[in-house]
């Protein structure tokens, strides 16, 4: 005889869902719909004159060569940051998962950078690598390497990627470590007894078993590079030089807050929103199939 519990109250499940729904509505649907509405308007910074302009904001947006440049920049930046921060974090996590004497010490220190606010991380890296003030830029100059993120777009990109990766490694590390620790030792030992070396064990046992974590982190990291890295870019390069580190989200900020063009900025956030929704959908549709829970 199986016991089954049935709730006859039809209202209760909805009531239990209400807090979550309210949060989703207030923090997502409401601002998102505001952005969509605003993207059809032209408004001055103070909100004194508002005019409905239909698709004009979108038209002028897609007529800007700078907008396409920022899309390309975003693509380069986000792939670099996501790939590097995930792979480096995975490497660190596998190393810290070994039976080391000082493992707790390493683990704690690895997590610390996550507590640093993006803007602070940006300022930190900005000063370390400032061509004439930076403690780390000076050795580069001594080696006669013309390090100049103020004018060289590639150098600036390397700098923001490093800062963004550094900041995200801790987070990824934490999840990978937890994922690694949940892999049953017996499976690994069985593999070892069957004669599989450490590399083979990693790729055939650990990596597949870690895939739910990796997939989760992939989604989170993509959202991170698209939105959260803005503070780093603002503090390190301000989108420069010559727009080479202006990602799409930085352009939203620059046009909206610095430029006071709220309609154009809203149009960009709508485009950005569509892209991220599409990306996440693709990830769930295609990448998730390869995930083994």
């Amino acid at each position: 005889m199986e016991k089954s519990v049935v709730f006859n109250n039809k209202l209760l499940p909805y009531l239990l869902l209400v807090p979550q729904l309210i949060i989703t509505f207030v923090f997502f649907y409401w601002p998102a719909s505001q952005a969509v509405w605003q993207s059809f308007q032209r408004e001055d910074a103070f909100g004194l004159n508002t005019e409905f302009v239909g698709l004009e904001n979108y038209q002028s947006l897609f007529a800007q060569p700078e907008y396409y440049a920022s899309m390309l920049t975003t693509l380069i930046f986000s792939s670099l940051v996501a790939v590097l921060s995930l792979s480096i974090a995975l490497l660190f996590a596998t190393q810290a998962d070994k039976n080391l004497k000082a493992a707790p010490f390493y683990k704690t220190f690895m997590i610390w950078p996550y507590a640093v606010a993006p803007a602070v991380a940006g300022v930190l890296w900005f000063f370390m690598f400032h061509p004439s003030l930076g403690t780390l830029a000076r050795p580069l100059r001594w080696m006669n390497f013309d390090w100049n993120p103020l004018l060289n777009g590639n150098h600036a990109m390397i700098l923001v990627v490093m800062a963004a990766v550094w900041k995200q490694i801790s987070y990824n590390f934490l999840f990978f470590l937890a994922g690694l620790q949940s892999i049953p030792k017996s499976v690994l030992e069985a593999g070892a007894i069957d004669g599989a070396g450490p590399m083979r064990r990693f790729w055939t046992i650990v990596f597949p078993l870690l895939s739910p974590t990796t997939f989760f982190l992939l989604v989170v990291n993509v959202v991170y590079v698209f939105f959260d890295t803005f503070g780093i870019i603002d503090a390190v390069t301000g989108g420069g030089p010559a727009g080479t580190t202006t990602t799409m989200v930085y352009k939203v900020y620059a046009d909206g807050r610095l430029g006071g063009d709220l309609g154009g900025s809203a149009a960009q956030s709508v485009v950005l929103m569509v892209i991220v929704i599409a990306l996440t959908a693709i990830q769930f549709r295609y990448v998730e199939r390869k995930v083994q829970y």
Binding site: R42, E43, D44, A45, F46, G47, L48, N49, E51, S60, E66, H130, S132, L133, R141, L150, L151, N152, G153, G238, G239, G240, P241, A242, G243, A254, D255, R257, L258, G259, G260, D261, G264
Partner: protein, 437 residues
Amino acid sequence: MALRQFGAAAAVTVALALASPAHAVTELQWWHAMTGGNNDVVNKLAEDFNASQTEYKVVPSFKGSYADTMNAGIAAFRAGNAPHIMQVFEVGTATMMSATGAIKPVYQLMKDAGEPFDPKAYLPTITGYYSTSKGEMLSFPFNSSSMVMWINKDELKKAGIAAIPKTWPEVFDAAKKLKAAGHATCGFSNAWATWAHIEQFSAWHNVPIGSKANGLDGFDTVLEFNSPLHVKHLQNLIDLQKDKTYDYSGRANAGEARFGSGECAIFLTSSGYYGTAKGTAKFDFTSAPMPYYPDVAGAPQNSIIGGASLWVMGGKKPEEYKGVAKFFAFLSDTDRQAKLHQESGYLPITKAAYEKTKASGFYEKNPALETPLKELTNKEPTANSRGLRFGNMVQMRDVWAEEIEAALAGKKTAKEALDAAVARGNAMLRTFEKTAK
């Protein structure tokens, strides 16, 4: 009848009770963006004003960078709780003045409050920036500066440069000598890239940045700084950047540290850098007027100001406006202005304060502080040198800087970069024009 009398008495009592808080102190919010020593100046001014009378209390609060302060003020206005006084940097002027209803023009404020106010008492090169074309003062100048060329005298001597260079060709020569004498990474440089090479450069050579007197006469202004002179100057910088005879130091003023550390011995930046230079430079330094091209007829003209002014926000109570007017009168006091100028390095805003400082012999001991004043008053300002007023200026400066950076990095020619800066800037001006009507 008795009841009616009682009612009247009660009403009077209630009215008195309600009125008495009005006799208490009226608080005036002042949002500003001053850091370090200048933050202390702001707090001291508020303290002194509060101690000087009992009716009003000015409450200063720091809101971050200039752009942050302005955005905070705009957001607060939209939410219906703007401060009374807001410090806005010079490039935000067009945005503020187009916001009719959001602001209370200063000339109107002083008239309504009946405070003595003579616009002619202020230095015209300063107030011109913040006035309508009819000369009505819209905001109250607070901290003003101009661009000067800072000179490391010790290093110039070591490199065998006898006189401080006056013209651009002389600066280029001096920079080459400095480079040969060991300044391998920086012959000369500057902070505020666009302020130096587009805005001040144009005014100093009496060529327009844009039509309609650089936008002062209307929002339908069109940018014009892609003239042959501008192209020639940028081309010179591009050529010198190749071997770091000139070395770019970024859009804002973080590069100023390169002067303080001795790396760059010639450095163009704000005259407001004086306080920092005094504190950090371990060498003999001074300031000199900005260089010019001697083959340009009439150069040098006069420089334009930078810095910030105080805007009064709209929709406040009359007695609050009275307090703000009293505060502005307090700030205009000659002794106070002279003292502010001598301590902070910012320019005095009244003629009387300038004369007083001059008469006291202060400039003989501190010639570096008179340079910006000499630049500003060098000649009677023309339509090209009165100031500038472009909408979207905060972001437009970034756009111009992007193009200059592309040119200095060798990705574009001088002409291509300036043409693109003008074209992109004009597009932004048209967007602004549509929202500002």
